[in-house]
């Protein structure tokens, strides 16, 4: 599956769910655990247990389209808000209370379509905040 198709699938799901939950294709480097079908799995973060069925209902109108794009059906892996913060907080860094004067500002790489990762880079001081928490 090409990167473009992967991005389009995330954009399609994001749009139909009103971008409510951060999404990403399962990442073999940082996903916790191993399982069959990982290459067709999408992580859905910050989704409370009682909203998971609703999520699947919301994407029903585009599931066929997604299956056509990916050739095989996708697997969705739901992470509750607590589980997201416990195991995947490195994907959601928070920069708070910085006071930056006469520098180069705060830089970010262009974020991917699912709304995960993209850590800030303070280029004038060459400090790179890449917060990772061991699972």
């Amino acid at each position: 599956m090409t990167t473009n198709i992967r991005n389009e699938v995330l954009q399609l799901i994001g749009k139909i769910t009103n971008y409510r939950y951060p999404l990403r294709w399962v990442d073999e480097k940082t996903t916790v655990g191993d399982f069959d079908g990982r290459e067709l799995a999408i992580d859905v973060f910050f989704i409370p247990t009682d909203e998971q069925i609703n999520f699947l209902s919301q994407i029903r109108p585009v599931r066929k389209q997604i299956s056509d794009m990916t050739v095989h059906p996708c697997i969705f892996i739901f992470h509750s808000p607590d589980a997201t913060l416990t195991h995947y907080s490195h994907l959601f860094p928070v920069t708070r209370g910085i006071f930056l004067v006469k520098g180069e500002g705060i830089k970010f790489p262009l974020p991917g379509p699912g709304g995960t990762e993209s850590s800030p880079i303070f280029s004038d001081t060459e400090i790179h905040f890449d917060v990772k928490v061991a699972a």
Binding site: N7, Q11, G14, K15, Y19, P22, L91, F92, P93, V94, T95, R96, G97, I98, F99, L100, V101, K102, G103, E104, G105, I106, K107, F108, P109, L110, P111, G112, P113, G114, G115, T116, E117, S118, S119, P120
Partner: protein, 132 residues
């Protein structure tokens, strides 16, 4: 002095408050009591190009509503960017997700991908927040 609040972050006296893929995202000025707003989003990274110059839509299927103190730009029914003038301070709300760029503000923070910027002050920098 220019003071812009984006998702609780203050950007003060910066030439380019927000840059995306090398292009300043927006600018504004007040002329004869009118608020004139310009917006520039290139494709890529957006899935469609949008260009507004002094409240005139030059490119993109967007709508713009402006008065002397605020400007709002929508893509179909989705709000993309809203600028509100409050004295010397400008409040900017934005949501570029419908354009395929995962940047948006909420009442607590500016979100760039999974990253949150909250209650930061960027002052007298050439560029405030640079993405891409």
């Amino acid at each position: 002095m220019s003071r812009i609040v984006i998702g609780t972050n203050v950007i003060e006296d910066c030439e380019n408050p927000v840059i995306i893929s090398g292009n300043p995202l927006f600018s504004y000025r007040v002329e004869k009591g009118s608020l004139l707003f310009s917006l520039n989003i290139s494709s890529p990274p957006a899935n469609t190009e949008i260009r507004i110059k002094d409240n005139e839509i030059q490119k993109g299927a967007v709508s713009l509503e402006a008065n002397s103190k605020s400007v709002a730009v929508k893509l179909e029914s989705s709000p993309l960017i809203e600028l509100l003038m409050d004295g010397e301070t400008v409040h900017l709300n934005l949501d570029l997700r419908p354009l395929g760029i995962h940047i948006y503000t909420d009442k607590n923070a500016l979100h760039v991908g999974g990253s949150q910027l909250s209650q930061n002050i960027i002052k007298e920098c050439k560029n405030g927040i640079v993405v891409g």
